[in-house]
């Protein structure tokens, strides 16, 4: 059996996500939780905290009315001489009870309606969502006022009425989340297994809708508390239960303003603000936790920070007699996060000659993209060029200021990113976006010539001028990729770096794009660095190949040598894993294991743990890059002369 377990050895079983740990790291959520906890404790232990019995009027005389705060009454007294602190503490109970029970009703109704509408779709959805829309349009507060006024204003009634009017936002949020989850592949897989609707909703949809429902529930609680306060303020409250709104109502209607008894207003107001603020903070905090994308990550120019690293003489590559355009010398890139340093690229050198096409290959996680980003200093914030030079026309790109560099990007070196075709702005025409790209880099481009230039560029990539004023959604995937290439060529670069430019495209479209790139290269004399994992494309297009593994150069040679006389075991294994249409009988083999984690590199050769021919020395000593021919380099102990 040729089936082996080939990935990293399993670690100890991991427990479920520790939610408390995540929440406790978010300060906003934590503050909200603490504030709510205070309110809950006050409500639970009201009889212990309050100093008087709120229902008893014992020992109250007319002189006690609207007394300011004192030792006897910490927060003063109200219009009938009762202790405001006591009322405040008991009022917490009512607010929390109404908030939690009313929102419970809302969440259950909204959750069921949202789930059903999202899951069943069609007529069910149409009916339920139109009903929800109608409920949303009805101004609910006046209606609640009318209903509470017509029925008895008991605590039960108030909870119930607020509850059945507060579910509309929940229904809409739950529905859209259900729709999103329903279209995910694992739901289809569950259906393929034979699972019924009920099973799918309970096991696959609800667990992913629940987090959003929780966030929403918190906001529903706070709006229920506000509704209760509003009702009480206009006199619709349970006379047997003191609430903050009721305290405000009594204070207002019974002359607290005219006697200057501010404490009778500020205290219940503070209570309402406290609880609503607490819930809002918690809601925002949870949203941040559940949607980490709210925290932005930008691509920032990796600032060169040169360390005194022993600098070997940079290796020369290529036998082309054409002049060197891009000279990469001992380039190293580190990622630094949480104090840990990951060596993403180590001492990579190569020369890109005029008109040359170099293929950069390796598995994911081998440093291809990092190297490419480092060449134009578009590394993510955590990345830094720790050593080396990137010489372009006598200038070291690694040492330029940001401004100088941004002038050089596009006009000297331009990049076609992976999936860039999906990054076109959907609300602006493609022509506009190309114009913008030109103006950004050549601000004084004659405005009259601009339109002609855009048409010329589109023509260059095989898009007829009539498509200039179309929007990206009117383009097919292949055309969008062509437009991106047109943009990359807009400032006449000499070097184009293409990062997997055809990965998401069909083979026929891929062939069209590759043919286009090849034509452009010949027509414009471009030098291209082509990053890909497709060894077939490399064989068909490239002049030279740089094979990377674990951030270092494994092998470099002209394309014929790489495919017909590879010397590095990694190159050999990679070729054995790649299918060849012309040899269908050939059985493919895989490379056991996966590329090393860059922050935990093995000692010695980075490929040693997966290498079929590794011997003792490989796990101790990192191999040097040996020259095997005029244009052939490999880093392996076995090729040592």
């Amino acid at each position: 059996m040729n089936v082996q377990l080939t990935e990293s050895s399993p670690a100890a079983p991991v427990q479920r996500v520790n939610y408390w740990k995540i929440v406790s790291r978010n300060r906003v959520a934590l503050l909200g939780i603490l504030m709510i906890a205070v309110a809950v404790i006050v409500a639970l232990f009201a009889p212990l905290i309050a100093r008087y019995d709120p229902k008893s009027s014992e020992g109250i005389s007319s002189s006690d009315v609207y007394n300011p705060p004192s030792a006897k009454h910490w927060l003063g007294t109200d219009d009938v001489g009762k202790d405001i602190f006591t009322n405040f503490v008991y009022g917490t109970r009512v607010s929390l009870i109404v908030g939690f029970f009313a929102s419970f009703i809302s969440i259950v109704i909204g959750g069921i309606i949202g789930l059903m509408a999202g899951f069943y779709g069609g007529r069910v959805e149409n009916f339920l969502m139109r009903f929800t829309d109608i409920m949303l349009v009805i101004p609910d507060l006046p209606l609640i006022v009318v209903i509470v006024a017509l029925t008895k204003a008991s605590l039960m009634n108030i909870i119930f009425v607020i509850g059945i009017f507060g579910w509309t936002t929940t229904a809409r949020i739950v529905r859209s989340q259900t729709l999103a989850v329903k279209s995910r592949k694992f739901v289809l897989r569950a259906k393929a297994i034979g699972a019924g609707n009920w099973h799918i909703v309970i096991h696959h949809i609800l667990p992913l809708v629940l987090p959003i429902m929780v966030v929403n529930a918190i906001l529903v609680v706070s709006s229920a508390i506000l509704s209760e306060s509003t009702l009480a303020f206009i006199g619709l409250s349970d006379p047997t239960a003191i609430s903050w709104g009721q305290m405000l109502n009594f204070a207002f209607s019974r002359g607290a303003m005219s006697v200057g008894a501010w404490w009778a207003l500020v205290v219940p107001g503070f209570g309402i603000v406290w609880i609503v603020l607490a819930l809002t903070l918690l809601g925002n905090g949870l949203e941040q936790i559940l949607n980490p994308r709210l925290e932005s990550h930008h691509l920032m120019p990796g600032r060169p920070s040169f360390q005194s690293e022993a600098e070997a003489a940079p290796v020369k590559t290529g036998k082309s007699t054409a002049p060197v355009l891009l000279d990469v010398q001992n380039l190293s890139v580190n990622y630094v996060s949480d104090g840990k340093v990951a060596q993403a690229v180590r001492n990579v050198s190569f020369q890109l000659h005029e008109g040359e096409l170099i293929g950069l290959v390796g598995e994911s996680g081998c440093g291809k993209t990092t190297l490419m980003m480092a060449l134009t200093r578009l590394l993510p914030a955590a990345g830094e060029i720790s050593n080396g030079h990137v010489i372009f026309h006598g200038k070291d790109l690694a040492a330029l200021t940001d401004e100088e560099l941004s002038n050089l990007r596009w006009s000297g070196i331009s990049v076609v990113f992976q999936g860039a075709m999906n990054a076109l702005n959907p609300v602006r025409t493609v022509g506009d976006q190309i114009e913008e790209a030109i103006l950004k880099h050549i601000p004084h481009f004659p405005p009259k010539a601009l339109s002609a230039r855009v048409e010329e560029l589109l023509d260059l990539v095989g898009i007829s001028a009539e498509h200039k004023n179309h929007f990206p959604h009117q383009y097919s995937g292949g055309m969008r990729q062509r437009a991106i290439i047109a943009m990359a060529l807009s400032c006449n670069p000499q070097v184009v770096i293409a990062d997997e430019p055809t990965t998401a495209l069909d083979v026929m479209i891929q062939a069209q794009i590759l043919e286009l790139l090849d034509e452009l290269r010949k027509k414009l004399g471009l030098a291209v660095l082509f990053v890909t994992h497709d060894l077939g494309i490399v064989a068909e297009m490239c002049d030279s190949v740089l094979v990377m593994y674990g951030g270092v150069t494994a092998e470099y040679a002209d394309v014929d040598t790489i495919y017909n006389a590879p010397r590095h075991p990694y190159t050999q294994e990679l070729l054995k894993a790649f299918p060849d249409l012309t040899k269908p009988e050939r059985r493919l083999t895989s490379i056991p294991g996966s590329p090393p984690k860059l922050d935990a590199l093995p000692p010695g050769c980075r490929f040693a743990p997966r290498c079929p021919v590794a011997f003792e020395r490989c796990s101790k000593e990192a191999p040097a890059l040996h020259r095997l021919g005029e244009n052939h380099l490999a880093s392996c102990h076995l090729v040592e002369a």
Binding site: N2, V3, Q4, L5, T6, E7, S8, P10, A11, A12, P13, V14, N126, R184, K185, F186, L188, R189, A190, A192, I193, G194, G196, H203, P207, L208, E363, S364, G478, D506, V507, M508, Q510, A511, D534, L535, G536, I537, V538, A539, E540, D560, Y563, N564, E573, L574, A577, F578, P579, L581, T582, K583, P584, E585, R586, R587, L588, T589, S590, S594
Partner: protein
Amino acid sequence: MTSEFILEVKGLKKYFQAGSSGWFSKNGKQVHAVDDIHLQLKHGEVIALVGESGCGKSTLALTLLGLEEATAGQILFNGQDVTHLADKEKKEMRRKIQMVFQDPYESLNPTQTIQEIVVEPLVVHGIGANETERLERTKKALEDSGLKPAETYLNRFPHQLSGGQRQRVVIASALALEPQLLVADEPVSMLDVSIRAEIINLLAELQKTRGISVIFITHDLGTVGFFADRVAVMYLGRIVEIGGMNDVLKNTKHPYSQALLSVIPVPNPRLRRKRIILQGETPNPVNLPSGCRFHPRCPIAEEKCKQQDPHLFNLNATHQAACLLLENYQ
């Protein structure tokens, strides 16, 4: 009950409404996703289905599994008509036909543990007398899929596994039901090249030891060359060429198959083949071209191709192609 074929597809069609049809709009346009497919699959046979996106290969798979309702035509499974089944029978059928999806990152529920994922089909179908028996079956399915020892994986979550390991979990959960037919929809296209071979080899191994039939949907024929017995090339909802692996690869007859095969990159720099690059993109399956649906892009189309819609012509006992220019072949 027993039939020579595990699966027979006769004139299968699956059309979708183009655009959304709401309460107020009635849209008559249809997407011809799968349009008149005929296919026979023997017990234990492996067929590769190739074509570009939009050719209907994935819709065909979903229709075969009953996840999409067929518009017309017939699907026979073991000689029994399974085209339109009631829910209960459909559930029974799904035990016997299982699917492996393309994207192992999307096809596992992130909130379930590996154990929950693999035991789920057993629970749904009430297989196994109790928890212990189901756990044993789960472990066996995981180990058969190369996740050894199973205990170390049971309590993990999908995000803690690599792409290759996740695809093994998907395979394990499909195998737990001991299906007779496995439909694999591009099971390796999302994986790194270096580990594709091991997933293909795993499927080949399981196919051989269990004698299951496999429909392997792919756009990369090189990967399944040694594994598949036959190949069917699809274009715009139709099979345009079908035959033994060697017939189709080395004696390609349909001009579309010729073009498609010529543009799949070959890792051999000494063999820079002549590529037949078709211009434009696959036409929209709403407004199909008249006559042969490939004629607007066909490099060798003749006048008659605009009028006449070709059916599959026999080239030899097992090799067929739908091209009018092959009508008088032999």
